[in-house]
Amino acid sequence: MTPVRVSVAGVIASVLLILVILELVRGRRLKERYALLWLATGAVLLVLSAWRDGLNTIAGWVGVTSYPPAVLFAVATLFILLVLLHYSTVLSKLTDENVELAQRIALLEERVREDRSISPRVPTD
């Protein structure tokens, strides 16, 4: 059986996580799109911490008999891995877009320079 103290600590930690995420979104430091996975993490951990029978049942399914709260740890690790993987895909996309932007700016700069040298009224630098 999960000790009550573990449950209480788990509930407090997950509620704090959810509040911090909401505050970050409210302060525009985190976009909704990237908050959702974190909120799901917080919600799942909250449910598993508070619902002690559920945690025991799930622990039984996966063969954890001695200490059910170990499942909490495993679930948290799984979610952290998910978030990290998600960030890796986001980072890859951002890298591509960044290169694309740099290339566009280089081409634009060249075009602006050409336009200036053609037009006699605008001084070139």
Binding site: L22, R26, K31, E32, L36, D96, E100, R104
Partner: protein, 241 residues
């Protein structure tokens, strides 16, 4: 002097429909400048729009409908337009309804006008069950949180005056923007009016909201409505509500 009006038309792979949309806008009101924001289409959307006389802003990569629309509002702000109308590039919004949308702005009674499919209860639009529920839930939520009854928060057919352009050029959600933007406008003190419009069946392409994405859509918009309600919005200079 009549106000300078710009039509902002976001388009992603709409080469089949965009020409007709630009032509219809010009036929309705030749004084309206048409800005097509091409969200990194892989087809001829930009070329077709230019050939039909539109100003075309091409994004270097796909930024999503909200980011594309906001590009148009930023263009409107930078070029001193008095009014901006937003309508979709797939032809579902009928440019002949433009005068209806511009009416409240011309009279000075609203800063944001939404073309609603359900404003007078006599509309003919009957969406599928799940979508109807979604539309109704969002409309109810925005009405409660924004303090004014709104009938259609998912409509992409809107008109803005200068104050509205300034607000949305600064702050506009990047994906699935309409519902959240409506609440932001209300909380910023914009006066909102709704006019009944009829939307046409999509001429080409499919709606960007597939069944798989609707869950993300619902959750994201709910979260956005929650945090918009938790934020404080300064009342805008010129907003009169």
């Amino acid at each position: 002097m009549s106000p300078r009006v710009v039509a902002v038309v976001p388009a992603w792979n709409e080469s089949e429909a965009i020409g007709a949309v630009v032509d219809e806008l010009a036929a309705c009101d030749p004084d309206v400048d048409v800005v097509v924001v091409d969200d990194a289409s892989t087809d001829e959307t930009a070329a077709v729009a230019r050939r039909h006389g539109a100003i075309v802003l091409r994004l270097p990569f796909n930024v999503g409908i909200g980011g594309a629309v906001q590009t148009g509002f930023k263009y409107a702000l930078a070029n001193g337009y008095d009014v901006a109308v937003r309508l979709d590039g797939d032809g579902q919004h009928d440019p002949r309804e433009l005068p209806k949308l511009l009416g409240p702005i011309d009279r000075g009674s609203a800063e944001l006008v939404i073309g609603s499919r359900f404003a007078d209860g006599n509309g003919t639009y009957r969406p599928p069950f799940a979508r109807r529920i979604g539309i109704r839930v969002f409309a109810r939520l925005v009405s409660i949180l924004g303090g004014q009854r709104v009938t259609d928060t998912t409509s992409g057919f809107i008109a803005l005056d200068r104050v509205g352009i300034e607000l949305f050029a600064e702050e506009y959600p990047h994906d699935y923007p309409e519902v959240e933007a409506t609440l932001v406008a209300l909380r910023s003190g914009l006066r909102l009016e709704q006019v009944q419009v009829t939307m046409r069946e999509r001429e080409t392409g499919t709606s960007s909201i597939t069944f798989v994405r609707s869950l993300y859509y619902m959750v994201k918009v709910m979260l956005a409505l929650l945090v918009v309600s938790l934020r404080r919005y300064p009342r805008l200079e010129g907003a009169r509500r």
